[in-house]
Amino acid sequence: MATIPVVQNKYEEWRLPSRGASGMISLIIGETALFSMFVLAYIFYIGKSVSGPQPAQVLDIPVFMTICLWSSSLTIWIAERAIEHNRMKQFTFFWGLTIVLGGIFLGGTALEWHRLIYHDGLTISTNLFGTTFYSLVGLHASHVVVGLIMLTAVFIFTLTGHVQQKHAYNIKTLALYWHFVDAVWVVVFTVVYILGR
C-alpha cells in the first residue's frame, strides 16, 4: 500500500479549465494560422495580376450579407444566454435566426460568385486576383458551411427536445466556433473589399 502524506482537503477546490474550451481555442488558433497564410498571399498579390479584371472593376462591397453575418454573432450570443437560463423557446428562435442569417450570407456569396464568373468572366484560373480571391473567400465560405451544418444539427436536436439546459456548456463551445467564423470575416472583408480594391 503506497501512500504519500498530504494535507487533507487541500485540493477540494481543484478546478482546471474545461476540456471543451481548451480544445476549441486550440482549434481556433490553428485555423487562424491557416487563414493567415491565405490572407498574406492575398495581400502580397494585390496589384500583381498581369491581366484583368482587377478588383476595383468587378468587386462590390457586400454590405447586406456582411451585416447578416455579423448580426448572427449577436443572435447566437442571445441564444447562448437563453439556454443558460433555460429559456428554451427563446433559444430555439435565436438559434434558428442565426442559421437563417448564416444562410443569407452564403446565398450572397453564391450570387456574387455567379455574377463574377458569368458576367465578369473572373474564375480561379483567370489571374492572380481570381486565384487569391476565390481561395480566401472560398476558404471562409467553407467554414461557414461547416458551421451551418453543426448549427443545424443542434437545431434539429433542439426541435426533438434533446438539447436541454444541461448542454449550455457544449452550446457555448460550439458558438465559440461561430464567433471565430464571424471574426475571420472582419479580416477577409477588410483585406478583400477595402484594402484590395
Binding site: L16, I124, T131, S135
Partner: protein, 563 residues
C-alpha cells in the same frame, strides 16, 4: 503540515485480471477500434518504427549511390525519389508520430489522468496519420497508373515551386506528397489539440502547471507550436493543389506568381517543425537525465521558460533558410539576430542538464548512455547551427553537405538518440519486460560509432563545395573518400538498428520482469503496474510536488518542503 496520507492511485495492490483467451481476429479488432491512449501510443510508435526502417533503407540506398564518384547504383530519377521520400518519411511518418506516440502513452500517466481529453479524436487522428503515410507510399505503385513504376515524389521534401507546378512536374508526384501530408497533418493537428486539452484540463489534484513533469510540459509547448506550424504547410499545400488542379497562379511565375512565397510559407512551417521534433526530445532527456543522475532537474523553472522561449523565438527565424534568395540587407540582418538568439535558451537547457549531472551519481544504463551522447551531439549541432546563422558564411554553407551534416546531427544525434533512450526507458512500463542491457549497450556503441563515422565526416565535403541533392559527383572534386567513410558509417548504424530490433523481439518474449518501477524513478507513470491497466489509476492520484514518488520514497525529506 498535517500528516494524513492519501494513496497514489494504481499503486494500490490490484492484481491485473487475467485476459480471457482471444482469437486472432478479436485481438486485431481490439487494436483497430481502441480509443485507449496507451494502445494508440503503441500503435503510433510501431507505425513510426516501421517507416523508420523503410526510410532507413532509402538512406542506405542513397549512401551506396554516393559512396564513389560517378556511381550508377540507382538512376537519377530514382535517387531524387529516394531523398524526397527519405526526408518526408523521416519528418512526417517517423519523427512526429513517434514523438506524439510517446506523448500519447506517457502524458496522461504522468499527469495522473485516466485518458486523453478526447479519446475518440485521438483514435481518429492516429488513423488519419496512418492513412496519410500509406497514401504517400502508394505513390510508388500509383503515379501514372498501376503498372509498377510509380512516380513517388521527386522534388525534395521542401518541394520548391515552381518545380512542383504542372509545367515542370506533369505526373502526380507532388499530388501524392501534398495530399498525403495534408491528411496526416489533420491527424497531427487533432493530436496536438488533444494534448493541449489533456495537459490543461486533465491534471490530477495537486498537479499545478509548475509541478507538471518536463516531458508533459514540452509536449504542451510542442502541441501549441504544432497548431501554428502544421496549418501554414496545409495552407501552402492547398494553394499548390489549387494551382495544379484548378489552374491557379499562386506559384506560377509566368503569371506573376512568386517562387519566393512558397519558400516563405514552407519555412514558416519548416523551421518551427524542427523544434516540434526536438522539443519532445528535450523532454525525454529532462526525464531520463535526472533519474539516472539520481538528482532532481536543475532549474526547473528556467527549463520551462527556455522551452516556451524556444517555441516563440522559433516562429521568427524561418528566413535563415533563405539567406541566398536575395533578401534585403536589413531583413537578412534581422534573421541572423533572431536565429542566433535561439542559442541562448538552448544554451540554458544544456547548462541545466550539465548542472543536473553535476554532483549526481550517474548510473550508466542504456537510456542514460543515449542521453549523454545526445548532450555532446546536441552541443555540436548547436554550434554548427550558429555557424550557419552567420549569413555571410551561410552563403557558402547553404545547401551544401555541411547543412546536411548539421541537421542530421540534430535529427539523428539529438532526436533519434533520445527516441532510443525513451524506448529503453519506457519499454518496461509499456510491456512489463525489461530490454536486454547487454544488447542495449551493443546497440548504443554501434550506433554511436556509425553515427560519428557518417555525420562527422559529412561536414567536410560540404566545406569542399559539395551541394545537396546531387545523385553523383565528379572524381576530381576530392569528395570521394569522405563519402566512402560516410557510407561505411551508415551500414554500422544499420547493424545497430538490427541489434535493437532483435533486442525488442527477444525481450518481449523472454525479457526480465520489470515491475512497477524498475528505474527507481519519481514521476507518476511509475506508480501504476507495468503494463498499466486500461483505467491507468485505480483511484485518482494526488500529488504535492514535482516528484510524487520521491516524496513517497523519502518521507523524511520530501520535495514539497522546498516548494
Amino acid at each position: 503540515m498535517a500528516d494524513q496520507t492519501l494513496p497514489i492511485g494504481g499503486a494500490l495492490d490490484i492484481t491485473p485480471q487475467k485476459a480471457t483467451k482471444q482469437s486472432f481476429f478479436e485481438w486485431l479488432s481490439e487494436w483497430f477500434i481502441t480509443v485507449d491512449h496507451k494502445k494508440l501510443g503503441i500503435l503510433y510508435i510501431s507505425y513510426a518504427l516501421v517507416f523508420m526502417l523503410v526510410a532507413g533503407v532509402e538512406a542506405l540506398m542513397i549512401r551506396v549511390q554516393l559512396a564513389v564518384p560517378n556511381n550508377d547504383f540507382v538512376s537519377p530519377q530514382l535517387y531524387d525519389r529516394l531523398f524526397t521520400m527519405h526526408g518526408t518519411t523521416m519528418v512526417f511518418l517517423v519523427g512526429m508520430p513517434i514523438l506524439f506516440g510517446f506523448a500519447n502513452y506517457i502524458v496522461p500517466l504522468q499527469i495522473g489522468a485516466r485518458d486523453m481529453a478526447y479519446p475518440r479524436l485521438n483514435a481518429f487522428s492516429f488513423w488519419l496519420t496512418a492513412f496519410g503515410g500509406l497514401l504517400l507510399y502508394y505513390s510508388f505503385i500509383g503515379g501514372f497508373g498501376l503498372y509498377g513504376v510509380g512516380t513517388a515524389p521527386d522534388m525534395g521534401w521542401f518541394a520548391y515551386a515552381p518545380l512542383t507546378e504542372k509545367a515542370f512536374s506533369p505526373g502526380h508526384a507532388p499530388d501524392y506528397w501534398a495530399i498525403a501530408l495534408i491528411i496526416s497533418g489533420w491527424g497531427t493537428l487533432g493530436t496536438a489539440i488533444n494534448i493541449i486539452a489533456t495537459t490543461i484540463s486533465m491534471r490530477c489534484k495537486g498537479m499545478t502547471l509548475m509541478r507538471m513533469p518536463l516531458f508533459s510540459w514540452l509536449m504542451l509547448v510542442v502541441s501549441g507550436l504544432t497548431l501554428v506550424t502544421i496549418t501554414p504547410l496545409t495552407a501552402a499545400q492547398i494553394m499548390l493543389m489549387i494551382d495544379r488542379y484548378l489552374g491557379g497562379h499562386f506559384f506560377d511565375t509566368q503569371a506573376g506568381g512568386s517562387a519566393v512565397m512558397w519558400m516563405h510559407f514552407f519555412w514558416i512551417f519548416g523551421h518551427p517543425e524542427v523544434y516540434v521534433l526536438v522539443l519532445p526530445a528535450f523532454g525525454i532527456a529532462s526525464e531520463i537525465i535526472p533519474v539516472f543522475s539520481r538528482k532532481g532537474i536543475f532549474g526547473y523553472a528556467a527549463m520551462v521558460a527556455a522551452s516556451v522561449g524556444i517555441g516563440f523565438v522559433s516562429l521568427g527565424v524561418w528566413a535563415h533558410h533563405m539567406f541566398t534568395v536575395g533578401m534585403s540587407t536589413p531583413t537578412t540582418t534581422f534573421f541572423v539576430l533572431s536565429t542566433m538568439l535561439v542559442g541562448i535558451p538552448t544554451g540554458i537547457k544544456i547548462f541545466n542538464w550539465l548542472a543536473t549531472i553535476w554532483g549526481g551519481k550517474i548510473v550508466f544504463a542504456t537510456p542514460m548512455l543515449f542521453c549523454l551522447a545526445f548532450l555532446f551531439q546536441f552541443l555540436i549541432a548547436g554550434l554548427t547551427g550558429i555557424m550557419l546563422s552567420a549569413a555571410p558564411w551561410d552563403w557558402q554553407l547553404h545547401n551544401s553537405y555541411f547543412v546536411v551534416a548539421h541537421f542530421h546531427y540534430v535529427l539523428v544525434g539529438a532526436i533519434v538518440f533520445n527516441i532510443f533512450a525513451a524506448i529503453y526507458y519506457w519499454f518496461p512500463k509499456a510491456t512489463g519486460k525489461m530490454l536486454s542491457e547487454t544488447l542495449g549497450k551493443w546497440h548504443f556503441w554501434l550506433f554511436l560509432i556509425g553515427f560519428h563515422l557518417t555525420f562527422d565526416f559529412m561536414h567536410i565535403p560540404g566545406i569542399l563545395g559539395m551541394p545537396r541533392h546531387i545523385y553523383t559527383y565528379m572524381p576530381d572534386r576530392g569528395w570521394g573518400i569522405w563519402n566512402f567513410i560516410e557510407t561505411i558509417g551508415a551500414f554500422v548504424q544499420a547493424i545497430a538498428v538490427l541489434v535493437f530490433l532483435y533486442n525488442v523481439v527477444i525481450s518481449l518474449m523472454k525479457g526480465k520482469e520489470a515491475g512497477n518501477d524498475p528505474w527507481d524513478a519519481w514521476t507518476l507513470e511509475w506508480a501504476t503496474p507495468s503494463p498499466p491497466p486500461a483505467y491507468n489509476f485505480a483511484t485518482d492520484p494526488v500529488v504535492n510536488s514535482r516528484r510524487p514518488l520521491w516524496d513517497l520514497k523519502h518521507p523524511e525529506d520530501p520535495d514539497w518542503k522546498y516548494e
